[in-house]
């Protein structure tokens, strides 16, 4: 296979990255929608796009750390659902201030990760089974403590104030009342600000990619995922590495739950929605180039995988695809895009060894 644009061409350099092929596929999909719908390439649409992919990027980033180990964490759907209710209870029933309530809710998610890690790494049950059980248990627990009813997210309510605005009409000054909406600084930071989730996603992805590539934690994660027995023989604390990554992943699930609850200003006991979010998160990681079999993965890839999913869903909606057909097309598009991805990857391997 000859190199596409020479060794130093932009395309070959992009393809040399682990995330290379999904970047190419995502760009192609974006160009397709930009050419076929007039409203895709607009700033208003980019703002609509954000909640379609930022949460999945965060979930995918956490999931990458577990999937590199060759494990999987389905319980993020559970922490996603439970964390905002814990936050609500801690804030409204226990009376904790908002930020400490968030922190305590996230600590509870860490405990969930600890339990996942304990049963997987120490008891030796398959992580699929452990976290599936945990998913159902947490969703059930959420239904129990919420009595299946939605509540208002603490600190996320919109306050409207009225102020007098002066207009000049035909040379005459008139005063009109105008309604202005306010959200608290807490809400702006934790999900309700337009770019809040995007910033969380970018910061988390960058930090976790740095952890994965440039620290012993990341190196040991790859070591355990690539050769668990060998890593243990070399003295890597295999169980500790596994438990730590399950804690990280479950916490990411809880954080996304709280961000989404603040963004929508209500906490919903919607187990089906949580399961869907869970699969988008895992898909983002897999589409981004993290192997289900373990040993290799990329956090930035999960971000791009999430972006790919977001663009696909948003673009299909803009094209006016009938709501009933949306999931069908989304599913088929994922399979087609991933098939293309496999071929692009072969080109990438070819150019890599050239």
């Amino acid at each position: 296979m000859p190199p596409l644009r020479g060794e130093d061409g932009l395309l070959s350099r992009v393809l040399a990255l682990r995330e290379g092929s999904i970047i190419v596929v995502t760009v192609v999909v974006a160009i397709y929608f930009a050419l076929n719908t007039s409203s895709f390439f607009t700033s208003a649409n980019f703002k609509t796009l954000l909640p379609y992919f930022a949460p999945f990027a965060i979930l995918g980033a956490g999931e990458v750390f577990v999937m590199i180990l060759g494990e999987i964490d389905l319980s993020i759907g559970g922490t996603y659902l439970l964390a905002p209710y814990l936050f609500y209870k801690l804030s409204s029933t226990v009376g904790l201030p908002l930020v400490p309530a968030v922190i305590v809710a996230l600590i509870a998610c860490m405990a969930v990760g600890l339990i996942n890690g304990f049963f997987t790494a120490i008891v030796g049950i398959s992580s699929f089974v452990v976290t599936l059980g945990m998913l159902f248990a947490l969703e059930g627990l959420t239904l129990v403590i919420s009595h299946g009813e939605p509540v208002e997210t603490p600190g996320a309510q919109v306050h409207a104030t009225t102020r007098e605005v002066t207009h000049v009409v035909n040379g005459v000054q008139i005063h009109l009342p105008e309604q202005v909406n306010h959200i608290s600084t807490f809400a702006k930071i934790f999900g309700a600000g337009i770019y809040s989730e995007l910033i969380w996603a970018l910061v988390i992805v960058i930090v976790l990619q740095v952890v994965l590539t440039f620290t012993r934690w990341g190196l040991h994660t790859v070591a355990v995922g690539s050769n668990k027995l060998g890593a243990g023989e070399a003295g890597v604390h295999v169980k500790l590495v596994m438990i730590r990554n399950f804690v990280l992943c479950a916490t990411a699930g809880g954080l996304v739950g709280i961000l989404e609850a603040v963004r929508s200003s209500s906490v919903q006991p919607d187990t089906a929605g949580a399961n869907e979010i869970l699969f988008y998160g895992i898909s983002a990681a897999v589409i981004g180039g993290t192997l289900l079999a373990g040993g290799s993965g990329t956090v930035v890839g999960a971000l791009i995988g999430a972006l790919f999913l977001g663009i696909l869903k948003d673009g299909l909606i803009l094209q006016g695809v009938n709501a009933n057909y949306l999931l069908l097309y989304l599913g088929l598009s994922i399979i087609i895009a991933m098939t293309v991805n496999v071929y692009v990857q072969r080109v990438r391997r070819g150019s890599h060894s050239a």
């Binding site: 620290t215 934690w217 190196l219 790859v222 690539s226 027995l229 243990g232 023989e233 070399a234 003295g235």
Partner: protein, 282 residues
């Protein structure tokens, strides 16, 4: 009717010396119904290369795993420099100066040569937690040059290297880790003559330096006689021979194994006969 109960090979009383760095007394280890080690006693002198021989399943690898802290014996004691040695794990054994190159090499295919060399001992930019990759590359290159291992590129994944190169890296990792006792589990397994001699040269160079003592599991008697100072043979979980290589020969080592096979076959026949006899009574 012959006695069907196994008498097993004769247990040789272990030798010992005043400059022993490691001494093992009456180790035993069972895995459920399987007895891996029955009664193992051996010793290792300073700067010595001890060859461990034995049939498949004789218990060689189990012994290595216990010495390296990866598994724990059921009974028996170990002494390191005359002090009781009870490793709590691989890390603990390593901190006491015992390091192991396993049969599966414990190399991480996805990681580069230098990351493998530094696995669990990675250098970081203190106080920051970031890996000091440049420093590790320099040190890795130096360490490989010092023990005469030729690896053209140390930033490639070890998956791309040959069997000999991988073995050499695994050995270099233990030497690099300041171990004074190195355990090698079949360092020549699945290796061509040229690559095998590279590893034996490496062992000879380490012996010349005299800083480390080595226990090496081998299969080829010629290699044992060439590379080792002394040889211990394990049969059915006990030491059946313990001699300086200068006092033994390929013939003697072969005889012991042939006798072992003969005895095992007779036992099998006797057991079958006893079984047939028992059935006849019914």
């Amino acid at each position: 009717m012959p006695d069907a109960v196994s008498t097993g090979p004769e247990v040789v009383q272990p030798t010992s010396a005043s400059d022993d760095v490691l001494r093992v007394e009456h180790l035993s280890k069972r895995f459920g119904p399987v007895t891996a080690l029955r009664d193992i006693s051996l010793h290792l002198r300073k700067g010595e290369v001890l060859g461990l021989l034995g049939d498949n399943g004789a218990g060689k690898s189990t012994l290595i795993k216990i010495l390296s802290g990866f598994q724990k014996q059921d009974s028996g004691q170990m002494f390191l420099h005359g002090q009781p040695y009870e490793p709590k794990g691989v890390d603990d054994a390593r901190s006491k100066g015992i390091d192991t190159v396993y049969q599966d090499l414990a190399l991480i295919d996805e990681l580069s040569v230098y990351h493998n060399l530094f696995l669990r001992r990675e250098l970081v930019h203190k106080p920051l937690p970031f890996l000091a990759n440049r420093e590790m590359k320099l040190q890795a290159r130096k360490a490989l040059d010092e023990i005469g291992i030729n690896i053209p590129r140390i930033d490639v994944a070890v998956a791309r290297l040959s069997g000999g190169q991988r073995q050499a890296i695994a050995v270099a990792r233990t030497v690099n880790g300041d171990a004074d006792i190195i355990l090698l589990d079949e360092p020549l397994a699945a290796m061509g003559a040229k690559e095998g001699s590279m590893i034996l040269d490496l062992v000879a160079r380490l012996k010349e330096e005299g800083k480390v003592s080595i226990i090496m599991i081998l299969h080829n008697y010629v290699h044992v006689l060439q590379a080792c100072d002394r040889v211990s043979m394990i049969q059915e979980g006990v030491i059946a021979l313990d001699k300086p290589t200068a006092e033994t020969s390929v013939e003697e080592l072969t005889d012991i194994v042939v006798n072992e096979y003969r005895r095992a076959r007779e036992e099998t026949h006797a057991a079958a006969a006893a079984h047939a006899g028992a059935e006849g009574l019914l």
